[in-house]
Amino acid sequence: MRIEDLPIEAEPVPGAVPAWHAVVPAGQLRDLCSRVKEKGGRLVALWGSDETDRGEGYALHVALVIRSGLVCFTVPLAHDHPRYPGVADIFPAADRMQRATYDLLGMHARGNPDHRKWLRHGAWPAGVFPLRKGYDPGAVHSRVEDRYPFVRVEGEGVHEIPVGPVHAGTIEPGHFRFSIVGEFILRLEERLGYTHKGVEKLAETMTLAEGARLAGRVSGDSTVAYAWAYAQAVESVTGTEPPAPAVWLRAILLELERIHNHLGDLGYLGNDVALAFGFFQFWRLKEQVLRLNQELFGHRYLMDVIVPGGVARDMPLAGIEKLLDLASHLEREVATLRGIYDEHAGAQDRFIGAGRVAPSLAAELGLTGLAGRASGLAWDLRVEYPVPPYDGLEVRMATHRNSDVAARVSVRFDEVLESLRLIRALLRALPAGDLVVPLGGARPGSFGVGWVEGWRGEVLIGLHVGEQNRIRRMHPHDPSWQNWPILERAVIGNIVPDFPLINKSFNLSYSGQDL
């Protein structure tokens, strides 16, 4: 069928997510991307796959948002020297995804000005592509030299500060290269990939059911979002409809995850301006949520509760009461703390105006999720394409136009309160019944997709099925791919000591984008 006015024939992807899939020739890719961009669409994810074992070449997969939902293009590429026209000039966010695709699969993006490696850090030599089918996962490489040419800024008084990947605090590893004059940041360049674990390669050794645990561990703080997105993808390829009580519980879990992450971040933001009071108060509240998670669902961070076909465990009956109590308790406390943050001149002086991403730039670069909503990009998957149970909840989107740290703080506060409202509404209408249904069989070669608005932004899982219900290729996509490059822009013109605060206000995932 034709989809909107794109000149292609697309098949609807079954399942909860409004998605279409189409095979398009490489020559048409750029034209399609430009058309989508003109209509206000944007890039969600870009990944590759090796099809040589099936007697074909390679394939590039591009997921884009259009008005009607998600459209996934598969572009078949040649067996020898797989090349495709790069789209980073149309969607700037594609740059790092294309470079990562080269590092893992040797698929070359023509016309991409940046040919530096992205995920390869010397753990395997150039010319070896670990995601290719012929690659032996047990292969051991001696470390090769890891040279990465950063862009140098020249001029009088300009110097560089290298920060990381080992930091003074216990945080994830990433390298930040600042070019500064005095305290002013002229340019920031990130180097990520230090936590590359080979998640995608590992997935290819698993069955569809086994993959759920792995998907839930791509980025630990978004485990619910990943697990749900993975479950959607598996349900899409197996034609399984998860029972209503399971879907309701999933939404409760997702909102709990949003709440505890936002509470943690609000505490950290206080800590970064030396307002230790805020840090301890918010972390006290976060701890209460985590303990209730443990009590009701058996895991503080809610890992492995969502499984393809439903949810793995029921909430104890008393859980409804306890969650409602927690909701009213949090609502009071968060409102009080918000008042304190809002009226604290010292904190507001640090928050306001720091790390601005002008809405026009944010739109141009494809900022997404929470950071996007704080830059005037009113887009929330729960509002745009609500899957059950969100379709009956009328989620109120939190947005802000100021695009600075203060705006991202404000959006977090709004989202915590909205999530509490949603949890209440979900608990009131919690249906009874089975929590999990057995999975059907999946047709080899079929493609499924999962797409969930996690606390950080939209998490996407692209799933290609192999023989006997095994995973052929699984691509988990974190919104941090889109937002990391924009952090580089957000800090320009700010001063060096404000960077940690700006960074924390985005709080992006390293593990999620390093894979």
Binding site: A274, A276, F279, G346
Partner: protein, 316 residues
């Protein structure tokens, strides 16, 4: 006149300054913890930390010069000297003539110069970053500090700290509006000079925001222990200067054995109050954006100058 009692006072104060510094820091941290609804690490934590650091092997950068190794000792020596000569217990100490306010500011400046040079010496980017921020804070804090002390010096017509304290302690009932301005200015300088919130954050792990901590990132083992200890003595010395200038009551005058217990109790009580006040101030403040620090210290300087002008106007 130097007699046995005077020497005893001097020894007690010198030992006290070294020993009480970490306890005072422990008290401030404990109060901060209480104000943040935490149970806190206990008063003795700084001592445990020093003991642990002294047991660790110091690791020194390959290209470090002797200056880098010498700095912890210089720092500790400067702060011990300052802590020993500030009239905290008694005014008539044998070393008291050394406690000239200009010399005192000089001792602190010497420590600052050595620490900054040591930070630059090993050539890491954070050392340089910290050193230049420290210099920015220092060159504004020093004049403000001097102006504050001069305001007090004008009242007693002497730059010797002992004379100032004796004069102020004797005229209990006189009201000095000029001193009120000087006290606020002094408090602001104290916060900046001791790397406290809102100018610096002693508890941060964010290397890009540090001032004092950035300079000592490369120190470890006994070197770090000495620096941490020196910082504790410095905080004590600054507080003792503040107490001596603005709340000198109870201090032992002359070499009088019987005054020692009273002086000790008075000092302890004032330190408890000062520490709690400092913790309260730190708890309610957020750290400034770095470039607010100059405004903050210029305000301190302005207040000190105002205090001085008020003194002259009041006299005329």
């Amino acid at each position: 006149m130097i007699d046995a009692a005077g020497i005893a006072f001097q020894i007690v104060q010198s030992v006290l300054a070294v020993l009480i510094g970490p306890l005072y820091v422990g008290w401030v941290n404990q109060c901060r913890a209480w104000l943040q609804n935490r149970s806190g690490p206990g008063l003795l934590q700084p001592y445990y930390m020093l003991a642990r650091l002294f047991h660790k092997e110091p690791v020194i950068a390959e290209h470090a010069s002797p200056l880098f190794r010498a700095t912890p000792y210089v720092l500790f020596g400067c702060m011990w000297l300052a802590g020993g000569i500030v009239p905290a217990l008694a005014t008539d100490l044998p070393f008291a003539p050394a406690a000239d306010i200009i010399a005192l500011v000089g001792v602190f400046a010497l420590a600052r110069v050595f620490l900054s040079l040591a930070a630059l010496d090993i050539g890491t980017s954070f050392g340089g970053l910290g050193a230049r921020r420290e210099m920015m804070v220092g060159f504004l804090a020093e004049p403000a500090m001097l102006m504050t002390l001069f305001t007090a010096a004008f009242i007693s017509n002497s730059t010797a700290l002992t004379t100032i304290v004796e004069t102020l302690a004797h005229r209990e009932f006189a009201i000095y509006p000029s001193l009120a301005f000087a006290a606020v200015a002094f408090l602001m300088v104290l916060l900046a000079e001791n790397a406290r919130v809102p100018v610096d954050n002693p508890a941060t792990h964010l290397e890009l925001t540090m001032i004092h901590e950035a300079m000592i990132l490369e120190y470890s083992g006994r070197h770090l222990a000495l620096i941490e200890w020196a910082s504790a003595i410095k905080l004590f010395a600054y507080t003792a200067i503040g107490i001596a200038l603005f709340a000198p009551w109870g201090i032992a005058e002359g070499s009088n054995w019987s005054a020692l217990p009273v002086a000790l109790v008075a000092l302890a009580a004032k330190l408890v109050l000062a520490g709690a006040g400092l913790a309260a101030l730190e708890t309610v403040s957020a750290k400034f954006r770095l470039f607010r620090a100059p405004e903050f210290l210029s305000t301190a300087f302005l207040l000190a100058v105002l205090g001085m002008l008020i003194h002259f106007l009041g006299r005329g």
